[in-house]
């Protein structure tokens, strides 16, 4: 796959790209691990945070509340190691889109909740909601994930070690 260079002259962007991808990959890894581990200590709270959105049927509250931290940690480890980067980033991007929909919907319905993105969650007082910030943050993460899906090749990655991706893909 060869891509026409969007920004820089061909040579310089080709050189910088793996490094940009590396920085984005590690940043996303930290965010995903942090979000997952913060929820992992209190899974009952994670289930309650899911219910607080009042979006999913009760049958899904528990699987999502328990499963989400696990997925976030696995994705975080994969990004940290740089293993199957493209797929890990794709999962993270889709999660962010789901979160944005959930937060926007809670905002639109006038709920007063904390998203519980980094543990906790549930009801909060109306003047303590942070919907614009939470959505902006998730949009930025989604953009980073999109970049990694497009250019998954990065330095210090298992993908590179295993020869899964080539520099000139």
């Amino acid at each position: 796959m060869s891509d026409p260079d969007p920004v820089l002259p061909a040579g310089r962007w080709a050189t910088a790209r793996p490094w940009v991808s590396t920085v984005v990959r590690l940043a996303l890894a930290v965010v995903s691990l942090w979000a997952g581990l913060a929820k992992a200590g209190d899974l009952a709270a994670s289930v309650r945070a899911v219910r607080a959105f009042e979006l999913l049927p009760e049958a899904l509250a528990r699987p999502v509340g328990y499963g989400l931290p696990a997925v976030e940690i696995v994705v975080g480890v994969l990004l940290l190691l740089g293993l199957v980067t493209r797929y890990a980033a794709a999962i993270m991007g889709l999660l962010m889109l789901a979160f944005i929909v959930g937060i926007a919907s809670a905002w639109a319905r006038g709920l007063s909740i904390d998203c519980g993105c980094f543990g906790g969650g549930g009801a909060t007082s109306p003047d303590l909601t942070q919907y614009p910030w939470e959505i902006t943050r998730d949009l930025a993460i989604a953009a980073g994930a999109a970049l990694l899906v497009r250019w998954p090749y990065s330095r210090f990655s298992l993908d590179q070690t295993l020869g899964l991706t080539r520099a000139a893909q």
Partner: protein, 296 residues
């Protein structure tokens, strides 16, 4: 006819191509196996870490004991003469029932269940109160409106459906203060119900209720408050057994299903929340809302 040298060359080339393709396929397969095992390994390790993390931080439940006084929605009901044990089928401890069986989602579902549909003398308003021992506004509510609720219950105008919860466990510097107090409350409801409200008044008293984020009252202090409320010493001594620790988590989960997002204190009249529409900290406003619910 013997094959020409050109044919032989082409055959050899085809064989070599096939071998190369086979080798490439094998290498690809090995790489796939390596990746799949790595990913599976990571998933397994993460799952183990999750399990360990959770067992490490949550208060370790001694046993799965469901109080006989618990309603199917995880409440404790008191009428003018004291504790009311749920009738057959309305309790959480029904034989073979899972703790949340029969629970329907949303406030509307509460009205079709006991005690909201209960048969109490004088047709009192059912006042459900959801609270966490660590929640500052729950203390404020108890101090402001507790007396009014005591009076209205004594006069038979209301029955109380009390819900001690533990969702603020993380706000007590690792001591699980909410669970410790809620366990004590459930123990009293089960073994010494006449001390129940005195105990709540004690732990929510101004200057007694701890600040969020602190370690909270010690087990000894909690025991002292229960003794002062008139609970027998042999009952109070069982607080530290954590008999209802497991149940407190179940009751909190049931409340989360019933309420969606738990915002305490939450006050319901006949199963309908008034916390967002009525100033529940103003006894006059609360009394007016209860009177309106009684007429309706």
């Amino acid at each position: 006819m013997a094959p020409s040298s050109k044919d032989r060359r082409e055959q050899a080339k085809a064989a070599a191509d096939a071998l190369r393709a086979k080798q490439a396929k094998a290498a690809q397969r090995q790489r796939t196996i390596a990746i799949v095992s790595l990913v599976v390994g990571i998933v397994v390790v993460v799952s183990l870490v999750l399990v360990i993390l959770n067992n490490g931080t949550s208060a370790a439940p001694a046993a799965q004991v469901t109080p006989t006084v618990a309603t199917g929605h995880g409440g404790i009901v008191f009428d003018r003469s004291g504790l009311v044990t749920p009738p057959d089928g309305a309790g959480a401890a029904a034989p073979g029932a899972s703790p949340s069986s029969g629970v329907t989602l949303g406030p509307a579902g509460l009205t079709s269940d006991w005690p909201q549909n209960g048969d109490f003398a004088g047709n009192p308003v059912v006042v459900s109160v959801y609270f966490d021992p660590m929640c500052p506004y729950c203390g404020h509510f108890e101090q402001q409106s507790g007396k009014l609720l005591d009076q209205l219950r004594a006069s038979g105008e209301i029955v109380i459906d009390s819900h001690p919860l533990s969702f603020l466990d993380r706000s007590s510097a690792g001591t699980n203060y909410s669970t410790r107090v809620a366990n004590a409350a459930w123990t009293l409801a089960e073994k010494a119900p006449d001390a129940y409200f005195g105990f709540l008044e004690g732990v929510f008293a101004d200057g007694v209720q701890p600040q969020e984020g602190t370690a909270g009252l010690t087990d000894d202090q909690i025991a002292q408050i229960a003794l002062s409320a008139g609970a027998p010493k042999d009952v109070v001594d069982t607080f530290t057994d954590g008999t209802y620790t497991w149940w407190v988590a179940q009751a909190t989960d049931i409340a989360s299903q019933d309420l969606g997002s738990i915002a305490t204190p939450d006050v319901m009249l006949n199963g309908v929340s008034i916390s967002k529409t009525v100033d529940i900290y103003d006894p006059t406003a609360l009394k007016a809302a209860i009177d309106a619910a009684a007429k309706g």
